[in-house]
């Protein structure tokens, strides 16, 4: 695996005869890989049948879990197969050819190690979270249950298309498909206006990103004449494209792709939908809005990394946007009270880290962080879900305390602890290693202000540790105390009589939280163990020489993102123009040490300090936190800070004022214009002309029969007269 993917594929392509590419590199040995996609689709169809036959059991859940598990097994089998990368044609989709060109976008799979890496945690976590949801969604059996699981199935199918697709159009299909699944599931509680609004917002904001992707696809096709990965990589390798569109298209492509990635992965300026998306059921938040879908942006950039390397400035932008998003989201997360929202902002923040990693030339770091983040963030959301489920929708961390000491809640408390230390980057946890890989590279890589960015990122890591443990200390530690919520996901229960186990926690006298049962606990334990074990790949020996980072690095190395791995021969090393091409000659330092080893210490210390701060303010002396807050609020010069943080920096309001309101106004203006100017003035005005003309003759149309008769007779008589006169004049000889 010393050569790059692109070259390998090029070798597979015969020079002559020039036949359509789709038929050339077609692997038949792994034809069953298509079933990774088909299983969720089958599950979708079966769920649909369940809905049609009004199944009132957990059957849809088991169908979904089973088929997702099958997909997972197939993914693992595929990962063990040797001859990746390969292409598997499933069926023809859009395939056109004409003299001098072609547009081929088939329903085909492109399997390489990056695909396998992504699909393994997508399908694996998908299966586990579906299992979790089978219990979590229990109150909705017979009502929304099938709807929920069909949504999950659609999501897995679309995500599969996104990750495994062989061309950009397939990716686009998956891209919009996951967007739709997300819309479908966020709006699951469709009776609640907030949920519907959040779903709509998610879809529309994502569409803005999709626009970027669509334009990127147009531009890529117009520039390179193909949208298939292997062909694209070959052309990039050959460098034979600079003339098209006077060269600007190649520079523009990465920015458009970036827009898409920022939309899907919730980065500045398009992150606003993600926190609102928490209106969906918690398993959805865990699966889609934490672990898998939101990492699609990272995948896109990793997959298209060669395009970004052609335009280094785009990677600067990626890095800065990622870093700033991370910081911004962390500051907002610090000031929220809703557990799920805190986790949502932390997701935005961590995604920012990943983009930072991509921007500072470590696709490996980004991918690794995606991998570990998928586990520990899933754990965090799932525990939050368990809490929500048990406490009738209570998510306010001020109203929950001491879960650790309550019967039946210990597993939840400790798995949440595991998730928290991973997220906080506590030494020797998985998050520690993956985050370090990114942070260190920020100091290593030369770029505009990357040093500053590195320090900002470290500061963000400190904030992360603080707000993570703020949650844990408030909710799980401390004295036992709780208030029930308003039972979010049971809006439509009141018209149902059979739901007996449910009635008792609605009772006026005393609220009994009902602790999670087997499925939830099992899934929590499995994933949290996974979150801890996610550190292991870091220590695995590399198959590929010259790079570090263990298994994940190997996986990334087998793909088009390989040139983003530090140590890879194609790695530019530096993004600043002066240092370009000099490799590691300008290797940065931190405090005089090698960044990689320095980062172990810095990051450990920062994480620890943040953790201690959280323990101090939120466990040992909770009153100090309140005092701090009131102190901040009472000082005019600093008051704006916590207020703005609690109000999410007013970003939603700004968007409303800058984008939505003007467009809405424009809509009304256009509507009025259409009605009064185009239709009223032009169309009706034109039609009024004949009417005016008609007014001259209107006296004739008085409704009196005989005046019509006079007119008619007069007309006829005049015609007769005219004919006679004409005959007299023109045939005058005959008249005497």
């Amino acid at each position: 695996m010393m050569t790059s993917t692109a070259i390998r594929i090029a070798e597979l392509v015969p020079a002559v005869p020039p036949v359509p590419v789709a038929e050339v590199v077609e692997a038949t040995s792994h034809w069953w890989a298509g079933f990774i996609l088909w299983f969720p689709l089958i599950s979708l169809v079966l769920c649909g049948l369940c809905a049609a036959f009004r199944v009132r059991s957990k059957l849809p859940a088991w169908i979904t879990i089973g088929s997702l598990a099958c997909s997972f097994v197939l993914t693992i089998l595929l990962g063990n197969a040797e001859d990746v990368p390969e292409r598997i044609l499933l069926f023809e989709w859009i395939s056109m050819e004409w003299l001098g060109g072609s547009f081929v976008a088939n329903f085909a799979l492109y399997i390489d190690s990056l695909t396998i890496l992504w699909m393994s945690f997508v399908t694996g976590l998908g299966t586990l979270i579906a299992l979790y949801a089978s219990e979590y969604m229990e109150p909705d059996v017979g009502k929304g249950y099938t709807r929920f699981f069909s949504g999950v199935s659609i999501f897995l199918f679309a995500m599969g298309c996104l990750v495994m697709g062989d061309n950009l159009l397939m990716l686009y299909l998956g891209w919009e498909g996951v967007g739709f699944a997300s819309y479908w599931l966020i709006g699951y509680y469709y009776r609640r206006p907030e949920a519907v609004a959040a779903a709509k917002k998610a879809f529309i904001v994502n569409r803005i990103g999709d626009l970027g992707l669509a334009l990127a696809v147009y531009l890529i096709w117009a520039t390179f004449g193909t949208v298939q990965y292997n062909e694209l990589m070959t052309i990039i390798q050959s460098g034979d494209f600079s003339e098209v569109y006077e060269g600007w298209s190649v520079k523009a492509i990465p920015y458009l792709l970036m827009l898409a990635a920022f939309g899907k992965s919730a980065q500045l300026p398009l992150y606003v939908w993600l926190p609102d998306a928490m209106e969906g059921p918690t398993p959805v938040s865990a699966l889609i809005h934490a672990a898998t879908m939101v990492t699609a942006g990272i995948y896109l950039i990793a997959r298209m990394y060669p395009f970004f390397l052609l335009e280094p400035a785009s990677l600067h932008l990626v890095a800065w946007v990622g870093g700033l998003t991370a910081l911004l989201a962390a500051t907002i997360g610090m000031a929220q009270y809703d557990i799920k929202r805190i986790f949502a902002y932390s997701t935005v923040s961590q995604l920012g880290f990943m983009f930072l990693g991509l921007g500072v030339l470590t696709t490996y770091g980004a991918a690794y962080h995606v991998f570990t983040h998928a586990f520990f963030k899933a754990v965090l959301f799932l525990t939050a879900g368990a809490v929500m489920h048990g406490f009738a929708g209570q998510l306010d961390l001020r109203k929950l305390s001491g879960l650790r000491r309550m019967k039946g809640w210990r597993i939840v408390a400790w798995t949440m602890f595991v998730g928290c230390i991973c997220l906080a980057g506590f030494p020797f946890t998985s998050g520690y290693f993956s985050k370090d890989a990114i942070l260190a590279e920020a100091f290593v890589t030369q770029g505009p202000g990357f040093q500053v960015l590195g320090w900002l990122a470290i500061f963000t890591a400190f904030l992360t540790a603080y707000y993570t443990f703020r949650v844990w200390c408030r909710v799980c530690a401390g004295p036992v105390h709780y208030e029930p919520g308003d039972e979010l996901h049971d809006d439509d229960h009141h018209d149902d009589h059979h739901d007996d186990h449910h009635d008792d926690h609605h009772g006026e006298h005393g609220f009994h939280p009902h602790a999670p049962r087997f499925a939830i606990n099992f899934v929590l334990v499995v994933i949290s163990v996974g979150a801890l074990l996610a550190a292991v790949p870091y220590f695995m020996p590399n198959e590929v020489e010259g790079i570090k980072g263990g298994w994940v690095a190997d996986m990334v190395h087998g793909s088009s993102a390989a040139s983003g791995i530090p140590g890879h021969p194609d790695h530019p090393g530096s993004l600043s123009d002066s240092a370009h091409g000099d490799g590691h000659a300008h290797h940065g330092t931190i405090l005089g040490m090698d960044p990689h080893s320095a980062m172990y210490y810095i990051s450990g210390v920062v994480g620890g300090v943040g953790l201690l701060l959280a323990f101090w303010l939120h466990l040992w002396r909770r009153q100090d936190a309140d005092r701090l807050r009131s102190w901040l609020l009472s000082r005019a010069w600093i008051r704006w800070l916590p207020v703005a943080m609690e109000n999410k920096w007013y970003v939603d309001e700004v968007y409303h004022a800058l984008v939505r309101a003007p467009l809405w106004l424009l809509g009304h203006v256009f509507h009025a214009f259409d009605r009064y100017i185009v239709d009223g003035l032009l169309v009706d005005g034109t039609s009024r002309l004949p009417r005016l003309l008609g007014r001259w003759f209107q006296p004739l149309q008085n409704g009196l029969l005989q005046s019509y008769a006079v007119t008619m007779a007069g007309g006829a008589v005049l015609i007769v007269l005219m004919m006679v006169l004409m005959m007299q004049f023109f045939q005058g000889g005959a008249v005497q």
């Binding site: 149309q701 008085n702 409704g703 009196l704 029969l705 005989q706 019509y708 008769a709 006079v710 007779a713």
Partner: protein, 110 residues
């Protein structure tokens, strides 16, 4: 010699009949336009038919072509049919408004 015809029928005779016919037609037309009584209006149309019939017969006589008279038969037919339908309609209208004044039916106005 001329058999079966008691007299000659010259162009002068024809012109006399045609002038008579046209005068009758014009009188019928003027009547149609000036009388307000629906029934009298129909009578005027009958008068115009009559004028046409005279012209037909005169031309038929001029050319010794009996199609002219045949057409008069058809005119009679049409007149009869028209009388039947038109009078039925007049009765219908009269029942509604109790008047035969054509000017009372102005709904066609716009």
């Amino acid at each position: 010699m001329m058999l079966q015809l008691a007299s000659t029928f010259s162009q002068l005779s024809l012109s006399q009949y045609l002038v008579l016919s046209s005068l009758l037609f014009v009188i019928g037309l003027v009547g149609f336009l000036t009388r307000r009584n629906l029934i009298v209006m129909f009578l005027c149309t009958e008068l115009m038919f009559q004028a046409a019939a005279i012209a037909f017969v005169a031309f038929g006589r001029y050319w010794f072509d009996f199609s002219g008279q045949v057409f008069v038969i058809f005119i009679l037919t049409v007149a009869a049919a028209e009388a039947a339908l038109a009078l039925a309609l007049v009765v219908l209208l009269y029942r509604r408004r109790s008047t035969l004044n054509a000017d009372d039916w102005m709904e066609l106005c716009e």
